[in-house]
């Protein structure tokens, strides 16, 4: 399997889908400039720069999707999505339902987020949970190059609006990606490491922190299972529950702010549906409820790191 970066995986996925399906088009601020090779191959009408107007870029995707196109839009950094909430939440998420099923919106919205570039809170805000909460959307946030590629291709083929979040800390991380038409279905978590004492449930870059923590834990004889959610909506309830039913313990980890984050949903799910298997409280590790700071020193302190995860898991296993 070839090893490529996340950025390359994303580019490949878009190129392959543009090639496969005439209805796919790709636009956003600087998309045509930054991906000249796509313009060259697919033409300036399918790969477009736009004016600065995030709301309208999203609205245009919704309108085009209603007409049978399959737009992919790049809204750059996740906080800029705040300009597009009306179009994404009230139009893309609701107009199919409101119309009694007359229309559908096959569209994908890309956005970068996360710590790593010290850009501060207006470029780095993990607000994926807002879209998970909003009805009618699907949400993915992969952590490996293979999943970035496979989930993006699946998202483009899905007949519904999909929010596709890219943890910018992973953008240049290399990973093996299967050749050919590699598809990862939406709604399926991945067990990144098998274990029996505790389930570490996460997504995005903190999956790697969980894997590192699992390594540390194994050294002290604790066997941790690491679940990468990948899809946040639909959420793979079965994968979460069957892991916790096996281990009896869960630590839920993400970089997004703690309160009302996806971790709250995962924890609530476990507390409701795997309660009888639980051998201890369901722990959550997430960033505190503050905007993401810029300074490198603070940015690192913002994210749950491997030692904290290992410490929490080991505390849980030891019943302390």
């Amino acid at each position: 399997m070839p090893t490529i970066t996340t950025a390359e995986a994303i580019d490949q996925a878009i190129a392959e889908e543009l090639r496969r399906d005439q209805r796919v088009l790709f636009f956003g601020e600087g998309v045509a400039t930054k991906r000249g090779h796509l313009v060259k191959e697919f033409g300036a009408d399918r790969v477009r720069n736009t004016p600065m107007a995030e709301g309208l870029i999203a609205g245009t995707a919704v309108g085009a999707a209603a007409m049978g196109l399959r737009p992919v839009i790049d809204l750059l950094f996740a906080p800029f999505l705040c300009y597009s909430m009306e179009e994404l939440i009230n139009s893309a998420g609701k107009l199919r339902y409101i119309s009694g099923g007359q229309v559908s919106f096959p569209m994908v919205t890309l956005a970068l987020t996360g710590t790593g570039w010290t850009t501060g809170a207006q470029h780095n805000h993990n607000l994926e949970a807002m879209f998970v909460h909003a009805p009618g959307l699907k949400v993915v946030m992969p952590s490996s190059a293979a999943d970035f590629k496979g989930l993006l291709k699946a998202a483009i083929r899905d007949d519904n609006p999909v929010m596709y979040f890219i943890d910018l800390g992973l953008l240049f991380a290399p990973g093996e990606v299967p050749e050919g038409d590699h598809i990862v279905p939406l709604g399926k978590a991945s067990v990144r490491q098998q274990g029996k004492d505790v389930s570490l449930v996460s997504y995005g870059k903190t999956v790697n922190h969980c894997l590192a923590a699992a390594q540390t834990l194994s050294e002290s004889g604790i066997s941790a299972e690491v679940i990468d959610l990948r899809s946040l909506k639909p959420l793979d309830e079965e994968a979460i529950l069957s892991s916790v039913r096996k281990t009896g313990r869960a630590v839920v980890v993400h970089e997004a702010n703690l309160t009302c984050g996806v971790g709250a949903e995962v924890s609530a799910l476990i507390a409701e549906k795997a309660f009888s298997s639980l051998r201890g409280p369901v722990l959550r590790l997430a960033s505190p409820d503050v905007p993401a700071p810029s300074s490198w020193a603070l940015e690192q302190a913002f994210v749950p790191q491997a030692p904290q995860i290992a410490e929490a898991a080991s505390r849980l296993v030891k019943g302390a």
């Binding site: 004016p51 709301g55 245009t60 309108g63 085009a64 007409m67 119309s99 007359q102 009805p135 007949d159």
Partner: protein
């Protein structure tokens, strides 16, 4: 109803009026949910919609009954939707505020003011990319013309040369706020220049003037494949939402506009031209009462959606 007859536009206006007055009366006695009417604005809707072709798409909003009826929507299924019945155009999930009728090209309807503007370029892009015939007629109000999405929409349509006919129904009201409180300019069509677009304002209470202007605007968009801003200058003579006592409306202003009722203007013109007389009018009125009665009968006898419908139509 034969669409080519000179009386057809009048009859459509009268149907819209009757339909909306029925809903208003029902809302006044709380027998039906409140609706937004466009009483006084019928010419603006009918004059434009009659200039469109079947392959054209229409985007409308909360004040949509005129556009829908002029387009040939079935009053039965519209009323059923207003009453939340399963037989409504949207299975009761919309209610009156966002009725879409895809089979008529009324493809997306949103009640978020400005959303029609945010969606129109994409619909037009769908036509453009797939080399489909037709243009997009996007109806919005003077209030929507202050939303940021107006700016973003017209600019993109201009730059991408999208076939969108923007129709601003300037009815001088934005719910409970007078338009004059919200902008220093009087004619919204002057904003077209900011986008390198052409625009024009027409007397929105004269259905024939609107129709002529619309025919020109539509062919501009259809032939040049580029957007155009047409403003129909009119007045909302009922309240924002039924019931509404209009206590906030200047009585003299309201009267001056009621005196220019688009239906009366057109009746007078047709009578003067010998194309309308009392008998003919009575015939039209009778036909319309029949249509309304039938719609009421159909809608009130339709069942509510089953609770199982709550979770359908979410994902495709």
């Amino acid at each position: 109803m034969d669409n080519t007859q000179p009386q057809a536009a009048l009859e459509t206006m009268m149907l819209i009026r009757a339909y909306e007055e029925h809903n208003s009366a029902q809302a006044a006695t709380h027998q039906a949910p409140g609706t937004c009417t466009a009483v006084g604005q019928e010419a603006a809707a009918v004059g434009v919609v009659r200039a469109l072709r079947p392959e054209d798409r229409i985007l409308t909003n909360h004040r949509s009954a005129g556009h829908l009826l002029a387009r040939g929507a079935d009053p039965k299924r519209m009323l059923a939707e207003v009453l939340g019945r399963a037989s409504g155009y949207c299975k009761g999930k919309s209610g009156n505020l966002h009725i879409a009728v895809k089979e008529l090209g009324v493809v997306l309807t949103s009640t978020i003011v400005g959303a029609e503007l945010s969606l129109a370029p994409g619909v037009a892009l769908g036509l453009q990319q797939q080399k489909l015939p037709g243009i997009v007629a996007c109806f919005f109000g003077d209030g929507a013309a202050s939303e940021g999405t107006f700016h973003e929409s017209l600019n993109l349509a201009a730059v991408w040369r999208l076939p969108v006919l923007y129709i601003c129904e300037n009815n001088q009201w934005q719910a409970f706020v007078a338009r004059k409180e919200t902008m220093l300019i009087d004619k919204i069509s002057t904003r077209a220049a900011a986008y390198g677009m052409e625009g024009h304002t027409v007397d929105g209470n004269d259905v024939e003037a609107v129709h002529r202007a619309a025919i020109e605007a539509v062919s501009y968009v259809r032939e040049r494949r580029q957007p155009y801003l047409l403003e129909t200058y009119t007045y909302r003579t009922r309240g924002h939402y039924e019931p509404d006592d209009q206590a906030y409306v200047d009585a003299a202003e309201l009267k001056s506009w009621r005196d220019r009722d688009p239906i009366e203007i057109e009746k007078k013109r047709l009578r003067a031209a010998g194309q309308l007389d009392d008998a003919r009018l009575a015939e039209i009125e009778q036909r319309i009462s029949g249509v309304i009665a039938e719609a009421v009968e159909f809608a009130t006898n339709s069942p509510f959606p089953d609770a199982s419908e709550l979770t359908t139509d979410l994902y495709a």
